[in-house]
Symmetry: C2
Subunit: 873 residues, 2 copies
């Protein structure tokens, strides 16, 4: 028995994706649930495979089956391919099981030739339309099937317009198009040495051959290799009757959404145009009508559309985006797919559908793209006003949200003006920890240098402030007080607007819309929490951030970076005094000034997080970060501290490092200057004790950064033990101790570290830097091309490099748990709020993820989805 | 039956180290082979353990056994502990199975009290000697047994000298010492509240208790923890008769080596002093006599000594270093141990002993410390002249050997003067690749900054040139042309001498001695080659280095750093032209100039290494290393290339990186600028083809640096494949392709890289930097204290961090071999010439090690030892 190589649409279903390809299976599914799809058939992917195997020959029986299906189709439509009276026209499209650019796309209007074009003209009563369709077909077929470059056809068309002295296609008439058709055919002959095929059956066969051939085109092979697409045997070919919406006043075309894609409202939403083709709606030359008007214009068609959309939504159990064509009063559905929607709409649709019993809670949770939630949590530009806005330039979308304010060029000035009630945008080449206060005072931050994980970006996300970073076209001169973009020069006080999600800098003040969190949001988050296994914490350094995060559902602080506290107000003086001190006593004196302030910092956090764990990381950055860079600042510092300028310069020079990332920082500081760690541990534990007296249950987790060797950790742990003994508090009851895992060596030797820690927290920013050998600050020059070339699928600083860094994390967890089952594993890098990374963390068995406050809901949702996806397997 | 807690020396042997401790077992062994050791007994380590278990109480029977052994000893010696006529004096010493500082060391002269001191005075006829011995005993016993600080005794002694108005101990007489003894006893009473024990048996018991107690002292516990000493139960106590070499003219003391420790000559070597104690020889106040003179002075004793030394050497099968004492004509051997020797002596002794059948070849190979070979391969300072030399300061011993020359401060000047026939020492704050030519022209290199793996150090070792690096006390001003060390200011033309092995900078010109390689060296290397499994290659960038290395037995080039070739003469211009080019064409034009030079470079290497593999690494360092730093150099470059100064400055600024280690370098260069790799591959493969025509068999291995992801490697491999196809040569026949493993991610994903490579070479310098998170250039500020505190046992840049970086290497090899068994694994970091690292490489299954030319013999020997040590297990 011959194998079945060809399926009519009515013979398949959506489960046959591997045989029929995605497109074919979908057309079959629609046909089978009674949707009026233009009829057609699909040649299977197996046929393609066999065709390639046999050296570009059809397998036995295939040609016969095609002819058989074609005959059925002609019968069904009452038309014949190539018929000079009533010609059947078809489209030929490729379609593999996975959508795949790089293969042959589409040939429309197949079946036209010098005779059938007359039939089309007669039937439509529109000769111009017929020859226009014909020349389009020759062009498309000549290009994608016969390999003639498009520009050669273009030349003919240009000449035709020139001859006639017109500029637009619209000005060409039927006779002109006729001549163009002749010219196009001559082009085909000139560049291929072959006549354009007049026989429609030969056209069809050539079309199918071209689709099959494109499966092994260089581009398609490259695409599969780069995207790791394996296990597919070939592409299917879909042959489908053409439907025309431009055959007169009873024809038309439209698009619709089964619910409102902006709000999610459960009401048909869409628009249409009579006597038009699909591209006319997109082109926007004629204004389409609202779908409701169709009810008056073609009540029967409208009613059919309504019953179809209800059926389709019920069948696919999701909001659908459909394309339809009315050909001489007859409705065809060309496509239906899950509709794109705003975050607000997505939430409303999911919650409504669950209420209506269309889907269950799990499905509702899986429906929402966690990344989309970001939209809901930040101010955004008024969509209408934005359309008119003048975008000055684009940078990286470093932190979402919209911000409007006056430009200022220094952190001090930002602070000053904000105190006077002004809204400001802090505009700097790059920010440094000294700018924290100014960043906090600003509405948004704009930098001309640095990437998605630059200081400005990380801090802004933490604060939930809009930030456009690395805006290379913006020339910022802090000295001159100018922001130059192209020819525009802005000065302090000029208004700009930032769109952080789009990375746009806009001239002037654009109105913004406040975020609104609906009840649907709360409901969906509640469901997510039912399913997720991961605990979601936040990275927060201030009570304010902690409060915001708690509002978003954070279940603790996963990372408090104590260094940020060192920059505020008077503290920086004491910090600098400590760094300049040449003796232990000098350092201790300076540290003694810091201790009460640190203690208050921690009490603030403990109070917000009452009864929830607060991971406090001991001092981490290299000391030179606390010293000024600019000449003027050095002078000011010398005066303030009453020390010699030269001494400051010498200290800066002594602390200079070639590769600060791999230098004197992290626990290395505390090992060389134990008094620093001591001060911090005292402050943490005393704060906890005092909180308890005030009825607050503090749960401090002390975290040792940059450990690479268990012995480093033990040096610091000993300091903790000593302070705890002095204060009469107990590890495992009053406080906990653990380590960051950010140096590859720590991951590799996790079994040695395991017995000594209560928790391990992956610092995936640094772990990625060291494991991949990428400096976050310098990677711009090669990492973007790397992602573009597919060397890395995604920027490993944005989404965990699962096959590299991730493998190391898995190894770490496995080896550590073998020794100590009680360890709590977390992650506190930027990745903790990125959905794919959160899911990965779930899969490899982490207990917690921690992210910036505004990403907490995203992490909660991603965690729930990870758990549900795990269940399925 | 009671357990045996106490062993007489005659009851044990050297196999009983666990029970008797190292010292006790050795004393027993000597006693048993008939060496006249002062008699005594050992209390076992088990006794110590039991004592600790019982809460500082003696286990049953122990005290009785001690008394029994003491009685035997008294009988044997004809003396009695505490006897007022003929008192027995003993020493009490601790001794665990592993030598361990931190425990109680020694109490001498135990048994003296107010009565027995009279007996000692009478017996020796020297009252002063007796009371001097007594006060020493009270001091030592008071200090180490009773815990009185030494300074309190010192105060009494100072006062006694003051009272008498003298300055030296020698000026105090018998009566004075008598008073000092009284004073010392008062000190003991004052600070302990107890009388000094007069009862010798109580003294003995207290001494034993103190040894036992010291086992669990903080220092001893810390020492065991830091050094990972486990499985020991306690320390033994050795009680031994005192022998005095200062009891008159028939008494004396001496040390001897059974062979000459400088040359290895098989002839008794040593010296002695009559009527003296051991410390008198060390003190050097009296000049000791040559051992040959003893033959005349005490022929019987001399003959006995000769027969003993022959017996001892035969017994221990190694050259011995012995201490002896003659007490009133009777010879005692106090100690024998393997003698320290020079490298030359070590070789001669090993080869001689093998010839005499005393040891076999394997033992001979295992006898030599590979590190010691370094002495033989370099010039060294004339030992006599060196004693008088004025050492100005000390830096790091970055590259061994002695160098004398005139100071110069720039590479250009070094080159100039060298061309005029001058010997120069290149003296710079730090060196950069631009200085290569000057370094090559200099006798030696001195820098004030940088560590053991700084540019200066690495390049100097490669060239086999002496180098003192990171000499912090030397203030070098290239601008002023001065080298300031303390008060000494040296200028260009002043002579200095460097001792690279000691890291010393010496004023003036000190005579040097040329290295001499004896036949013994060749013989031992030949034996080593019989046993080793590892192939030993060399890191060499020039035919000269390659030739030197081949002379030392290198079996190929394991790393040729092509960038070093980029600095010579005219090339740097073309390189800079390429960097400044803004277009592909511009870059190609510049590269075309480089290609013929590169080709000649490679031909030179292939010719030296005829038929041996040559691993050529494609361009690795960040491009900014090729650009000038100094203002003046930028100006010169602008003129030479005819480009705008500002353009050079802009390029430098564009290429600036925060962490260049993790920046735009390695294969990242070739991926962004494929034309660079292309040029290099063309040069390599054409060079190989041309060599073949000249009858030379070139074996090029093309190495891709800094790979972290197989896809990076594949991009470069594709370039190689393309060039190979054009030239008609075949991988696996005409050339090979592989990768460095230096990014942790590469090691982790080795299974993905494995199918695509012929070889993998561990670049352990960078692998250590990234795995441990240590910047080699900056680690000075914390790594030295880390090693001192035992956080790392050794500097991981000097000896592979086996438990961290090494674990990653093992993982890499295991996973890669699973996929591709044919991969050749090598190492080309600095570690490839360090014996412990070489042994580790053998154990984890590497095929090759590669090191700088002058370390090739060291690697060969270490490889042989690794193989032999592996056999034993």
């Amino acid at each position: 028995m011959t194998k079945k190589w060809v399926y009519g649409f009515e013979e398949g279903n959506k489960g046959m994706r591997m045989e029929l390809g995605g497109k074919g299976a979908n057309l079959a599914e629609m046909t089978n649930i009674g949707i009026p799809v233009p009829p057609g058939f699909t040649v299977t992917t197996d046929a393609c495979a066999e065709y390639c195997n046999l050296g570009q020959k059809y397998p036995e029986g295939m040609l016969g089956q095609i002819e058989e299906k074609l005959a059925e189709l002609e019968k069904k439509m009452g038309m014949k391919l190539g018929d000079p009276e009533n010609p059947l026209l078809v489209s030929v499209r490729s379609g593999a099981a996975v959508s795949m650019p790089g293969m042959m796309d589409t040939v429309l209007n197949l079946g036209l030739n010098d005779k059938s074009v007359l039939g089309l003209a007669k039937k439509t009563g529109d000769e111009r339309f017929a020859y226009d369709a014909y020349r389009r077909f020759i062009n498309m077929f000549g290009d994608v099937v016969m390999g003639v470059e498009h520009k050669h056809f273009e030349e003919v068309l240009e000449k035709a317009k020139e001859t006639k002295g017109v500029e637009l296609d619209l000005d060409l008439g039927a006779e002109d198009w006729k001549k163009v058709c002749e010219g196009y055919k001559a082009v085909v002959q000139k560049y291929t040495g072959k006549m354009f095929p007049e026989d429609p059956k030969e056209q069809l066969k050539m079309g199918i051959d071209a689709v099959f051939g494109s499966w092994n085109s260089k581009r398609a092979i490259a695409y599969r290799r780069i995207n790791n697409i394996f296990g597919l045997v070939g592409t299917a070919v879909n042959v489908q009757t053409m439907a025309f919406g431009n055959m007169g006043d009873t024809s038309g075309t439209g698009v619709l959404f089964t619910r409102n894609p902006s709000t999610g409202e459960n009401k048909l939403y869409g628009e249409y145009l009579m006597n038009a083709q699909g591209e006319d709606i997109v082109a926007g030359i004629r204004t389409p009508k609202h779908i409701d008007e169709l009810k008056k214009q073609m009540p029967k068609v409208y009613d059919e559309l309504v019953s179809i959309y209800l059926k389709v939504e019920k069948h696919y159990k999701d909001m659908q985006d459909m394309e339809f064509t009315i050909q001489e009063g007859k409705l065809f559905i060309l496509q239906t797919r899950n509709g794109k929607r705003t975050a607000a709409a997505a939430l409303r649709i999911a919650v409504d559908m669950e209420k209506d019993g269309l889907i269950d809670k799990k499905t509702a949770v899986l429906r929402i793209d966690p990344n989309q939630l970001d939209q809901l949590l930040h101010k955004r530009l008024d969509p209408v006003a934005k359309e008119k806005a003048e975008v000055l330039c684009r940078g990286l979308p470093a932190s979402p949200g919209a911000a409007v304010g006056k430009i200022v060029f220094t952190a001090d000035r930002a602070h000053e003006l904000a105190q006077e009630g002004e809204k400001v945008i802090l505009t700097r080449t790059e920010t440094s920890p000294e700018d924290i206060e100014g960043m906090n005072a600003a509405q948004g931050i704009l930098t001309s240098r640095g990437g998605m994980t630059s200081h400005a970006a990380v801090v802004a996300r933490g604060m939930g402030k809009p930030c456009v970073a690395g805006c290379a076209d913006a020339v910022i001169s802090e000295e001159k007080g100018t922001l130059k973009i192209g020819d525009t020069v802005l000065k302090e006080g000029d208004y700009v607007t930032l769109d952080g999600a789009a990375g746009e800098v806009i001239k002037g003040a654009v109105p913004v819309v406040d975020p609104e969190l609906s009840g649907d949001f709360a409901k969906l988050m509640e469901w997510a929490d039912e399913f997720r296994k991961l605990t979601v914490k936040t990275n927060a350094d201030t009570p304010h951030d902690a409060e915001v995060a708690k509002g978003f559902g954070a279940e603790g602080i996963g990372l408090c970076r104590t260094e940020h506290m060192f920059f505020e107000g008077e503290r920086i003086k004491a910090v600098r005094e400590m760094i300049l001190a040449e003796t232990l006593d000098g350092r201790k004196k300076a540290l003694a000034k810091l201790k009460p302030m640190q203690k208050e910092d921690f009490k603030g956090l403990f109070k917000v997080m009452d009864n929830l764990p607060v991971i406090i990381r001991l001092l981490d950055p290299p000391l030179h970060e606390f010293l000024p860079k600019e000449d003027e600042d050095i002078k000011t510092m010398a005066k303030e501290l009453g020390v010699d300028e030269q001494k400051i310069r010498d200290t800066i020079s002594n602390l200079h490092e070639f590769n600060p990332m791999l230098g004197f920082r992290g626990c290395r500081l505390g090992i060389r200057y134990p008094e620093i760690s001591e001060m911090q541990v005292w402050a943490i534990l005393e704060a906890a004790i005092e909180c308890k007296k005030e009825g607050v249950k503090a749960v401090p987790w002390i975290e040792v950064p940059l450990v690479g060797n268990v012995k480093e950790y033990l040096v610091i742990k000993k300091i903790v033990d000593k302070v705890a003994e002095s204060l009469g508090v107990k590890r495992g009851k009053d406080f906990w101790v653990g380590t960051m895992i950010e140096v590859p060596r720590a991951a590799i030797t996790a079994d040695e570290i395991a017995p000594e820690v209560d928790f391990m927290s992956f610092g995936t920013n640094d772990l990625t830097q060291m494991t991949c050998g990428f400096s976050r600050d310098d990677a711009g020059s090669f990492l973007k091309p790397y992602v573009e070339q597919g060397i890395y699928d995604r920027d490993p600083f944005q989404s965990i490099d699962q096959t590299g860094v991730g493998k190391l994390m898995e190894l770490c967890i496995k080896n550590a748990r073998k020794i100590n089952k009680k360890i709590e594993f977390g992650i506190c890098g930027e990745h903790g709020g990125e959905p794919e990374s959160v899911k990965f963390c779930h899969r490899i068995g982490l207990n917690d993820v921690s992210c910036s406050p505004y990403r907490v809901p995203i992490a909660r949702l991603a965690a729930a989805q990870a758990a549900l996806e795990g269940e399925k397997k």
